[in-house]
Subunit: 304 residues, 4 copies
């Protein structure tokens, strides 16, 4: 149960079977740093490149294909006083007729005030006077190496995780990824200081961060898609286009999990999900969209 | 500001320019009853037919095309001790490979206990022992007559409202509909005792109910899609297939509303939505899916 | 086997259970006229209104729900020297980034030269000097009244037919529609002088026409979607959004037809379709898209 | 203008920056062999593995990012007496309600008779007595290495080509791919003896083959998606889910090409495409669907 302090020097733009930067044991904790989506660090120095340069990969000893790697997000700390967004909304979330009226997608700087816990536009707009948003940090892109020799851009996502941009990937959340290569090879980066559903501006508050996480191996878990758990919820993420397919993957994985963990057959699981399911549209911007199928714990059956 | 007690005798399976059953003034309140989705009333007597027989239409004096009709859901009271669902999930929310394993979509009866405020399976399953869900009533299908001479089945939805099956259409919510014919011609029905996101079992807890609502005309509002407001949120609903198009309609309508009500231009609205938007997948089952674009009020700019 | 000459005076903008304009027998032929999509007749006089005003409905004696109405398109004759299109492509068929660059969707007039059989721009463009296209007339919108009391805009389509805008609905083609109301109530209009796949300009060459068709009842056919046959092909049309769902409807109907007509079980039909199927994207512009599942007759099994 | 005879020994399951197996000059011809989709060669010996093992990559001297690599398919010769399919249709091309009725997706063997030019089931079905199909060979999967360090499974496709499964990739067709890495790194494999639109059985007639192709560099062409030309047509391929997005990519690329090659601005191109475009649904089975936007040459403007 070692705690590793890891200062990254190399950054990858694909999730793939790259040479590991650190080997850790199941149960270990890592404290490290992530660059922003364009590769800038805590000091504003560019050390990686677009899109979403990754810290890692971390080799987890003993992890084999068929296992799950559970990553607990212990802490995400803002380590820079600014973040940025693109102004304007993604063109696929408005009516085609509105597209010619949308603002140019310029880079906008926001001030991150750790004392107050608030984020505000560096150059305020008259219409948004005194408007600020809370610091609600999340990890935009993380996951493990895919199998079959693939190396997949950090712009997108899949069964292995990747650029899911889900605001629920926040401190306190433990996320399981399906392992496809020995050592799992875990990557992380692209922290956002805040973000709405869908990442419809194409960004959150893009910034660098210090991240503390712990890893835990689950042998032979054979999961199909990322699963997550917080104090209040359990959830599964599906990544695909169109939205309906992402929703299918997430719901299908939840059906499997409800059977494994709560002994619910398809009938019982249908009753539960029909009345209790919550869907989050994590991102509707990236090449693969992400939909989360979630259940608040009070709706789950007693397991005693 | 009259309160009308209206006992319905005719029920429609389309939203269209049918003969009104009652004329009311802007500001009036109506207390009436709705049948369940298969047409059964509080006494279990079948008085209408599948799908979603509607109470109404109510003619609102002075309402003209271009106006909005705001309907405040004052109260939804369970008036029957049972509701029903279909077991099994909709086939489009699971992986195609799981479809052959899904249970047959049989009708299942649930007990609605008004004293405890809970709903439970009439024939409990071993895997769901002692499991119950809260009574959280909502209106599955309501809206106004569409324009252009159309009469649209209550199985589906559109700009005029209809079978949106959104669990947010609950007491305390005021919903605006775009008026397309003189008098607006408001219909309602298909109350659910509870329902998850997406109506993925194809039903909520289908039951009859007593509903109290008030109407308010907003002259010349020229809204494009249903808008809603509760104590805590404002939202817009988009109805279409696929999900992405429903989401576009809802987001586009919110952009218009943010400009009208808060003076936010496209740049300011993009900043706000990018960080604050919440999406609800209301239904992913009906011929038209419904997606809600929602903002929690604390994220809105000060209007003073 | 009467031939009726019918001069229309009323035009409908919905397919619904409107009062019939003429009663005909199975086997009869009708020669009539259609207005263009904006309601202009052979003399350029506006006699109906947008969208797609329909000639009809024609009541076919003895037709009942569950029957199919087969309509043979005998002849479509251009009866006006001009047609029109909208310039610019539909915004959903190009990349979102190209939308701001698309031309305004102005009305453009084309000359229809019956002698040469060609159609050309009335005001030629330098880049398209000497460019003309063939007269290949087709029916954009036709079908029967839907059931369940619905009246559906002629802007869209469904199981009953409607605004499918398929260039294969041309002389020589016999189309079957599923009957939902007594008398079938057949409507037609919206003839195009020519059109590409997908109706991606949002129009064909919109014009008025003289149309000759014959009707034939097929008792108890219980078809689910429009079916068609020409000298060279058999096909089924599916109408829905998104494209994949339209394709599903069309393919599913073809599976049923192959079993009914050729005795092919699911295995045999899969072998045939897997190697022989042709898909036409009829329209990707209207509220419901249309996809045609087609088989060229030489690929069909011998039926002897 | 050398002709290379290349006997492959290594086979890749991703398109990526793998070590080249042969260097060729622009203008050269290569005669080589491909394995079937499961890796079996002309003698039925398994030498590669699922999915779609590739012959190559071929390094084209001088090719740089921004160039296009044009590959002319000179000849595809069946070199084995059998091919195979999966029985049953892909589950996404039928109605969900039909899925439980679909046959199991077993492997079926077909006889390829080079003398007669026909292909027939090795174990005929009663319903398909005397039924055979023509040998119409095509390349299922080919393309160049993607950029940005990605290595993409040969199960799917993208801007770089890949598993497009388009029956139009046949002898006589010249296909251009956008070059992303030095030398282009061209791969090919997965020949089908015949296939319908959409690859809706999930396979064509899967077999090994001898393929002859020539390569030609087009410096600075800066194309966005694969483009193709035959004696009769020009076309562009778009690869994505859902179908509408694949169609957008293909149409957008055609708009660019029409301007580059024929000087058609957006207005002229819209007139042309609106009346002349043909869409082919190449595959609606793989992770990325493929749609082809095609124009028959007689519809193109004179270029003199």
């Amino acid at each position: 149960m070692t705690t590793h302090h890891f200062a990254p020097n190399t950054f990858f733009n694909t999730l793939g079977a790259h040479a590991p930067v650190l080997s850790v044991e199941s149960g270990d904790t890592v404290i490290t740093e992530t660059l922003d989506a364009h590769g800038f660090d805590r000091d504003g120095v560019q050390r990686g490149r677009d899109p979403n340069p990754m810290t890692g990969p971390f080799f987890v000893k003993g992890a084999e294909p068929g296992d799950a790697l559970a990553v607990k997000i212990v802490r995400i700390e803002m380590n820079r006083a600014t973040g940025w967004t693109r102004q304007g909304l993604a063109w696929n979330v408005v009516e085609p007729a509105q597209i010619p009226l949308m603002p140019a997608r310029e880079k906008i700087v926001w001030d991150i005030e750790r004392n107050s816990g608030r984020i505000s536009l560096q150059e305020p707009l008259a219409a948004l006077r005194n408007w600020s948003i809370p610091i609600e940090p999340m990890i935009g892109c993380f996951g493990v190496a895919p199998g079959d020799g693939e190396a997949i851009s950090t712009a997108t996502s899949g069964r292995f995780g990747g650029n899911m941009d889900y605001r629920g990937f926040k401190p306190g959340c433990e996320v399981q990824f399906p392992v496809s290569v020995p050592g799992a090879l875990f990557f992380l980066g692209d922290v956002h200081g805040c973000q709405g559903d869908g990442e419809i501006a194409g960004t959150g508050i893009e910034t660098s961060a210090e991240v503390e996480f712990s890893v835990r191996m689950i042998k032979g878990a054979n999961i199909g898609w990322p699963r997550g758990e917080t104090e209040t919820d359990i959830f599964c993420a599906g990544n695909a286009r169109p939205l309906e397919q992402a929703l299918q993957h997430a719901t299908a994985e939840m059906l499997v999990w409800l059977e494994q963990r709560y002994g619910l057959d398809r009938i019982a699981a249908s009753h539960l999900l029909g009345m209790a399911v919550r869907y989050d549209i994590a991102n509707v911007f990236n090449p693969a969209f992400s939909v989360v199928c979630r259940i608040e714990k009070p709706w789950l059956p007693n397991s005693n």
